[in-house]
């Protein structure tokens, strides 16, 4: 792909390689990999933050307690606002989603680290979990009436079958767009930084330009890391509203 361009060797995708953490052996389904390591680090970071932050239980919170409470109320308000009171029981689920994605994204920005959320496998599992939850809860709550969201009753009768087809397709495209939006954003950001880093290695004194560019893109990627986690979570809320809330069409 981006192999040789006049002696310049840039392989921006190499950073996404998954390899066994110990030894060379074949990659089985349980082999601990570099991705496993960073998933574990994310788990440890989240657990420490949430446990240390929730331990003091002070009425006037300290710094760590403020962060956890901010996270908690932020997601709680989002769930209540978007899915309504009915969706509030999905709050723990969304809390896990948001904390995991935002932590993975931010940890992935540490130079030399690995972002699990840059892998479509990871984001696809997250998105499929949301898709299955919405579909199952929708049918459980509304029965066959859940299909009513595909039948746009506010549209002219002639258009309704066509709109139903479009709605149906868009419904099944959701997990795809949901997962690729997150994975693609993280992957692209990391790849772009790698490309600039490759330039910086061969440009001598002029490499100040790509280094400045990396610094700028790094700032952007910090924003992207948080925004994409937010987008993933709020889209999950929007999808859940279809399943539990009033029809919004």
């Amino acid at each position: 792909m981006a192999d040789e361009a006049g002696g310049l060797v840039i392989d921006p995708m190499h950073q996404f390689q998954i390899h066994p953490l110990f030894g060379e052996g074949p990659l089985t389904w349980y082999t601990p990999t570099n991705q496993t390591l960073w998933l574990g680090i994310a788990v440890v970071v989240i657990s420490l933050l949430m446990l240390i932050g929730s331990a003091p239980r002070k009425v006037i919170p300290g710094r760590t307690q403020s962060i956890t409470e901010l996270l908690y109320t932020f997601i709680h308000d989002m769930v209540e606002e978007v899915t309504g009171h009915e969706g509030a029981k999905f709050f723990p689920y969304l809390m896990v989603l948001f904390t995991f994605i935002v932590t993975s994204n931010l940890l992935g920005l540490i130079p030399g680290s690995f972002a699990p959320t840059s892998h479509i496998a990871v984001t696809a599992v997250l998105a499929l979990m949301v898709f299955l939850t919405v579909t199952l809860v929708g049918f459980y709550k509304k029965g066959i009436g859940f299909l009513g969201m595909f039948w746009v009753s506010s549209a002219p009768l002639v258009l309704r079958p066509i709109l139903a087809l479009i709605e149906l397709i868009s419904y099944f495209v959701r997990p795809l767009s949901h997962s690729i939006r997150l994975g693609g954003n993280i992957m692209a950001g990391h790849a772009v930084m790698k490309v600039f880093a490759g330039f910086a290695g061969v440009m001598g004194i002029a490499s100040i330009v790509p280094i400045a560019a990396i610094a700028a893109i790094y700032g952007l990627e910090l924003l992207v890391a948080v925004v994409q986690a937010y987008v993933f979570t709020i889209l999950t809320c929007v999808y859940l509203r279809d399943a539990v809330g009033e029809a919004h069409h």
Binding site: L27, T36, V59, A121
Partner: protein, 178 residues
């Protein structure tokens, strides 16, 4: 079907080439470890962290609303106290006014009594003095008429007449009147 098989088969060896994301040979591994991570996070959050945070937030909310209610109560108490104070002040004013009026009336009464007393004393003294003056005057008139009668009798005798008491008396009285 055959194409997907070749892709999957080649993915293992050709992973150094294409996108690592599309190397499906790594997917079972990724999915397994992701699910492990999510389950651990879920347990930590729902069993420990979130109940704690929820209780702290509820406690804070209760505390704040309790404090607000207490402040409201104190405010109403202060208002009541102010009202009571104003009322007491008003009452004291009224009371003071009453006392002033009563005292004034009492003083007036005393004054009137003293004045009446003094007037009575003065008029009594004046009446007494008048009586004395009248007595003195009467005494003087009598003395004068007596002296005049005696003088007139002596004159009559000296002139060689006989003193007729009744005639002298009448003459003196006539003179004194004139």
């Amino acid at each position: 079907m055959s194409t997907t098989e070749t892709v999957a088969g080649a993915a293992g060896e050709a992973s150094q080439k294409g996108m690592p994301q599309l190397n499906f040979a790594t997917w079972p591994n990724q999915v397994f470890w992701l699910l492990v991570a999510l389950v651990i996070i879920y347990i930590v959050l729902t069993k420990i962290a979130m109940p704690r945070i929820a209780s702290v937030l509820a406690e804070r909310k209760g505390r704040i609303s309790g404090d607000l209610a207490a402040a409201e109560e104190l405010k109403s108490k202060a208002k009541a106290a102010e009202k009571a104070y104003n009322l007491a002040l008003e009452q004291a004013r009224v009371e003071a006014g009453k006392i002033i009026l009563a005292t004034k009336a009492e003083i007036q009464k005393d004054l009137n009594a003293a004045m009446a007393d003094a007037d009575a004393q003065i008029s009594a003294k004046a009446a007494e003095s008048e009586k004395r003056i009248a007595e003195i005057r009467a005494g003087a008139v009598q003395a004068v008429s007596e002296v005049a009668r005696e003088t007139a009798g002596a004159l009559v005798v000296a002139l060689g007449g006989t003193a007729d008491d009744a005639a002298i008396e009448a003459a003196v009285a006539a003179r004194l009147k004139g």
